[in-house]
């Protein structure tokens, strides 16, 4: 056991890889949060009147709301008046295409290993690059446009496709859904919008890469994905942030609409700065993600690999409204040092013969706390609803915690709901066995953890899966003996 502790002490020898920041001239909103700021943001983005009204309505509702306290996370109260709600790199004029985007901004993404050069991309992944409060570039717009697919920044969508935004914005996550969603609705700055027309199978992965650069700025982005009947899209989201001593707030909203026979696959690799090994700094990641399977036989699948953030509060959910619709949630959440994660899902069965599947793999190391919180709700008319939930926890060392909070609410006697949960520790026997075959301890941990998380990692698109595997290994470097 002495070795166990010794190696635990050496924990997190590896620094956060994306902790750098750059200086660029920014266009920032004044510090603070009030109606004037919201008007300022809306004006900055040249928004139509209805959207400003929408924001203000959200803001007024938000003012009467209180921060949720039920999550198993602890952090000092965030002073929302001390934040800036808009920060954008200054660009002399709005770029019309990729060639006009400031090379310095392109370089930021190059440094993150994300090429915005369409020719250089390995294979079909279209990217929307969001830096602080704005989208700086979107690739492959023309290629996708030919199929009628819209993939652009949210701001652009407001201008170019107001009818779609008007119809779907807030339709899955109402502006008053919860404290953070309401805040987001009031101050959101940018994000991605994608629209897949009826019967179209999106030929490439669509991806948004979120980067927070500015200090003292909250990032509030909004993503809206609309998949019309019989369409298909796979969407990826990646996130990183500089290493800063103070905590930064990230409160996003993601809404997904799936029509009849439509399929949406949403994958996230979340690698926000988790704070240093003393627990200083890091991102507060308070995110509302929800999809509605509106049409019959539709399917929404969430896959998330959560390695970053100081505090995570996130429950990607599915409303299974259409008959025979399917919701899936695959999650690996890793916490190390002083990270806290309270994450899970909600599966709300409304339609008949709806099915949901939840596979959650928590990995806790250091002094971190990792909670799974999930709700399975079967409504009265949801005949033959099926749910299978599997929640596994893997512990490393003896100073971390793993918690499972499953809520099951069944209102239909034909429902079949299964819940399995396991907790295990990485065994010294397993590590010794690997060592004896010539595998170093760090690599042994990576191997064992990746094996443990395999069922979830398998759900990720190829390129992301490789990144996620490396990330898992990196996050847990040195965390076990």
């Amino acid at each position: 056991m002495s070795k166990d502790n010794q190696i635990l002490e050496e924990l997190t020898s590896k620094e956060y890889e994306h902790g750098w920041s750059v200086n660029y001239e920014a266009d920032e909103a004044p510090t603070g949060l009030n109606e004037d700021i919201i008007r300022w943001i809306s004006a900055k983005k040249e928004e139509p009147e209805w959207l400003l009204e929408w924001r203000l309505k959200a803001f007024r509702t938000w003012q009467s709301m209180t921060e949720p306290q039920w999550a198993n996370v602890h952090y000092p109260k965030i002073d929302l008046q001390s934040l800036k709600y808009y920060s954008a790199p200054k660009q002399s004029k709005k770029p019309k295409n990729l060639n006009e985007v400031d090379p310095e901004l392109i370089a930021i993404y190059e440094r993150l290993g994300i090429s915005l050069n369409e020719q250089k991309r390995l294979q079909g992944i279209a990217i929307d690059a969001v830096l602080d409060s704005v989208s700086v570039a979107t690739t492959f717009k023309d290629t996708l446009g030919k199929l009628g697919i819209v993939f652009c920044s949210f701001s652009e969508a407001v201008k170019e496709h107001p009818e779609l935004i008007k119809k779907y914005l807030g339709s899955v996550v109402p502006m008053t859904d919860n404290y953070y969603a309401a805040l987001n609705s009031a101050v959101f700055s940018d994000g991605s919008f994608c629209y897949i027309p009826k019967g179209v199978r999106c030929p490439m992965e669509l991806s948004t890469y979120f980067r927070i650069n500015a200090a003292n700025t909250g990032q509030f982005e909004r993503t809206l994905i609309v998949a019309e009947d019989e369409s298909y899209v796979s969407y990826l989201e990646g996130c990183t942030a500089p290493q800063r001593d103070e905590n930064q707030l990230h409160a996003a909203v993601v809404e997904i609409y799936a029509g009849a026979h439509a399929q949406v696959k949403y994958s996230t690799v979340q690698n926000w700065f988790p704070g240093d090994k003393e627990g200083k700094g890091g991102i507060y990641n308070f995110v509302t993600k929800r999809g509605i399977c509106a049409g019959d036989h539709s399917k929404i699948s969430w896959t998330q690999v959560e390695t970053g953030s100081a505090v995570t509060w996130k429950y990607p959910s599915c409303i299974l409204k259409g008959d025979y619709s399917v919701g899936e949630f695959y999650s690996v959440a890793v916490t190390n040092n002083y990270q806290q994660a309270d994450t899970g899902t909600k599966m709300i069965h409304i339609g008949k013969n709806t099915k949901s599947r939840i596979v959650s793999k928590g990995i806790s190391a250091g002094k971190s706390q990792n909670s799974y919180r999930g709700q399975v709700q079967v409504m009265k008319r949801a005949d033959n609803a099926r749910n299978f939930s599997q929640c596994d926890s893997l512990l490393m060392g003896d100073r971390c915690g793993a918690h499972t909070f499953p809520y099951i609410d069944i209102n239909n006697p034909t429902a079949k709901v299964e819940h399995e949960a396991t907790t295990s520790k990485i065994g010294e026997d397993q590590i010794f066995y690997c060592n004896q075959r010539g595998i170093a301890t760090e690599d042994a941990v990576a191997l064992i953890v990746n094996g443990y998380a395999k069922e979830v990692l398998n759900q990720l698109p190829m390129e992301f899966a490789v990144e996620a595997q490396k990330l898992l290994a990196l996050t847990l470097e040195g965390s076990v003996g």
């Binding site: 010794f432 075959r437 010539g438």
Partner: protein
């Protein structure tokens, strides 16, 4: 190749090995026998570098290097292989993936290029035949749901892949039926050469019908109390361990 001098080791304060002396040369097969609790498996574990055991005295030189100074993975990379009595399960990690990671780390240590997927698979095919192991088994999670025989066969397959200099078989015969025993032994025999050595730790003589030892040592109360040739194993089979215990215990009381 391997020289063990006055090796003492304990676990949680209990001394298990109390002065082991053993010389193993290239090309030799040594059998370590003895009653239960005599320290046979402890010796195997200490040589492989298991952390729970504390070496309190003595030295182990392996090919000119102080083995006890090396981390377990470096011992493996130097060519020490332990076939486990109870192979460990690693869910979600296929044998193939596991072995490729292991082999390439060993190769890197030895200054060799890592094997690409094609070369690795052809090497695997070659070694699979040697131990009559099914490819299907290797695409499954390592040891998970394997039968006793499959686990042991997989150990010998890993041994074939990693080409160790010194192989230590810890009770490899336990839990094997006669057919599996034959297959496993054949594998071990095919892997023997004049440059490698094998230490066979076993309770029963049965395995030694298949893997014929050059020397047989009897371990009792943490010491090698008797050494001989394969005839000693036959004698033990016939007479049991009691006569040796009596010899040792009465000598100790004098």
């Amino acid at each position: 190749m391997l020289s063990i001098k006055n090796l003492h080791a304990s676990i949680e304060g209990n001394e298990i090995l109390r002065g082991i002396n053993l010389e193993v040369k290239a090309g030799e097969v040594h059998a370590i026998m003895g009653p239960n609790g005599s320290g046979k498996s402890t010796l195997a574990s200490v040589l492989a570098g298991r952390e729970e055991y504390e070496v309190t005295e003595g030295e182990v030189i392996f090919q000119g290097k102080d083995l006890l100074e090396l981390a377990p993975e470096d011992r493996a990379r130097e060519g020490v292989f332990l076939a486990f009595q109870y192979p460990v399960e690693i869910p979600g990690v296929s044998s193939t993936n596991f072995l490729r990671t292991a082999l390439n780390q060993v190769r890197e240590y030895r200054g060799q290029e890592p094997l690409d997927a094609v070369k690795f698979l052809s090497l695997m095919k070659e070694k699979m035949a040697l131990v009559e192991i099914d490819q299907k088994l290797l695409s499954r999670s390592l040891n998970e749901g394997f039968s006793g025989g499959e686990k042991k066969r997989n150990e010998i397959f890993q041994m074939a892949m990693l080409e160790p200099v010194l192989s230590i078989l810890d009770e490899t015969d336990s839990g094997l039926d006669i057919d599996a025993l034959r297959i496993v032994s054949n594998g071990v025999n095919k892997l023997k050469s004049d440059k490698t050595a094998t230490i066979v730790v076993t309770h029963y003589q049965r395995l030694l019908d298949y893997i014929v030892p050059d020397y047989v040592h009897v371990l009792y109360k943490g010491r090698i109390v008797k050494s001989g040739t394969k005839e000693l194993a036959l004698e033990l089979e016939e007479k049991g361990y009691d006569w040796i215990k009596e010899e040792v215990d009465s000598a100790a009381t004098v």
